[in-house]
Amino acid sequence: MTIQQTAPPPIDHEDCLVIRDLTVAYGRKVVLNGVQADIRKGQVVGIVGPNGGGKSTLLKAILGMAPVISGTVMLFGKPIDKMRSRVAYVPQREVVDWDFPVTVMDVTLMGRYPKASWIRRTNAHDRDVARDMLSKVDMLDYANTQIGQLSGGQQQRVFIARALAQEADVLLLDEPMNGIDATTQEIIMGVIEEQRIAGKIVLLATHDLVSASCACDCLCCVNERMVSYGPLAETYTPANLAETYGGPVIMLGRADASDELPHTHHHPGEHAHHTHEHENLGIEHK
């Protein structure tokens, strides 16, 4: 028996990361309020907002690692708790003890842990995948190096390789562009693009508006509450960003920039302005 659908739903939630009314509070302090988003496969969403505005908290809440007091997160129609292994998470580099006696390979293999059940060891296939991912971020030569001996950018690339090794459907990146070199930034941008093409969902928490505008399809602007969520054309606007950051965001460049949309790669043929503006936003981007 088949049921004829009269009208298809606007968005198929079976294909989405759906966030509904997500509210997070530490003790009695609400740190993030009312997050709503439907994120489809192949979408890259930038989470932007001021420091302490709840960017990292949002990622943690999605993973069930922050005290969620209301709201739901569903992935492909199922509660996120049941889908943990399909979500890869790159925490901020600072949370890890880099003196720990593990090699680059050991760390990358951790991405395979969700695939192996308790007690079981990682196997040859896991090591193959880990090697592939390391070469993708150009770190294979360092496979046997202790992680503390790497530069910040290299450490970040290993974290990215670990997340990729998980072969997840959702990639959560927490400030991956913090304090890294140009090569690493390029590699991370490349990885994000590749994930988009492969139909994965990427959430990128960043305070770097320029990389957000380059890499993302949508922005989720947060400042203790969700200020806005939508395609770049609607959200990457001076008015919206001003509301997010609680004051006018200075977008220098041209005298009349304040009432113009900032340019992104979604506006072809404006390359000159593109670079120009990025320089003037005072954020390094190569």
Binding site: K60, L63, M65, D81, R84, S85, V87, A88, Y89, P91, V95, V96, D97, F100, P101, V102, T103, D106, V107, M110, Y113, P114, A116, W118, I119, R121, T122, Q146, R162, L172
Partner: protein
């Protein structure tokens, strides 16, 4: 072979043979689990656990039950309270633990002061009495040791990622709270195993010193664990013999050997040793100075201004 009697003589005594087995077991288990104590910065918690176990030992002793079980019960209780306290961000964890363990240690002392052989009993609990080890003690130590090692090996990847990157472990859905609690219980079990050999006060040295020594020698976790266990065993054996021939306390001597090994490695470790790094730095400086001469020499041949 001359000098061999130094090794064989003590072994003619049953109590020395038992002591030897006991310190080998103790050295291996404390060394292995000590790796996590060192890497996760749990030295203080290890110390606290060993003190908190004390009243359990005393109560079991006074009511005539097995010391092992009293210690284990208190170890698990304390582990659980530490794990729960640690989940509350508002409580300064180290103060809370400090209060708990000093309090429970005091309880142990008050309880044992009611015993008729107060001083002797207290000393044997606090500083161990490896020469008084019974066969029953050895069996319990062996069982506990095997349990600890098997769990550490089986849960290698879970314990590794929880220790290295807690956030990622949580994100993967691992029950980090229970893994933390498990680790604390394993540490407690190890402490209980070591009470006979080194006693309550010094057990923390066996948890920390061999592992800290091994960390200076390797950058690989499995290697560190094996080395740490080996150093623990070596310290145990050497300490036992030295104490026998010099007629001094075994527990203290074992810890002193471990401390001496740490000192040697700290000075001379191939990569991280204090003297080694200084030597390497000086050699590098000399090399650089020589290279500079090479760079400068063509300059000398440059025609000067006329």
């Amino acid at each position: 072979m001359p000098g061999l009697h130094y090794i064989t003589d003590p072994m003619q005594y049953e109590f020395m043979r038992r002591a030897l087995i006991e310190v080998i077991l103790m050295g291996a288990v404390t060394g292995a689990i000590g790796t996590y104590v060192v890497l996760r910065g749990l030295s203080f918690i290890g110390d606290a656990l060993s003190h908190a176990i004390f009243p359990g030992v005393v109560i079991a002793f006074l009511i005539g039950a097995g010391i092992f079980w009293g210690a284990l019960l208190f170890g698990i209780l304390t582990s659980a309270s530490i794990a729960v306290v640690a989940t509350n961000r508002r409580v300064k964890e180290d103060s809370a633990i400090g209060v708990l363990f000093a309090g429970s240690f005091a309880l142990g002392i008050v309880l044992i002061s009611s015993s008729r052989n107060f001083t002797r009993d207290l000393a044997s609990f606090l500083f161990g009495n490896v020469l008084g080890v019974t066969n029953n003690d050895i069996v319990l130590s062996a069982i506990a040791g095997v349990i600890v090692i098997v769990i550490v090996v089986l849960l290698y990847k879970e314990l590794l990622i929880t220790s290295f990157d807690r956030a990622a472990a949580q994100a993967m859905g691992l029950p980090v709270f229970w893994l933390d609690l498990l680790l604390l219980i394993l540490i407690s079990l190890t402490i209980v195993v070591s009470l006979r050999a080194v006693g309550n006060i010094l057990v923390v040295a066996m948890l920390v010193t061999p592992a800290a020594t091994a960390r200076l020698l390797t950058d690989r976790l499995p290697v560190m664990m094996a080395m740490s266990a080996a150093i623990g065993v070596m310290s145990g054996i050497a300490g036992l013999y030295i104490s026998y021939w010099n007629d001094v306390a075994a527990g203290g001597t074992i810890v002193l050997v471990a401390t001496a090994l740490f000192g040697l490695v700290w000075l001379f470790a191939p990569q991280h040793g204090y003297l080694t790094t200084r030597l390497l730095r000086r050699r590098l400086a000399t090399d650089l100075a020589e290279t500079r001469v090479v760079f400068e020499s063509p300059e000398i041949q440059l025609p000067g201004p006329h």
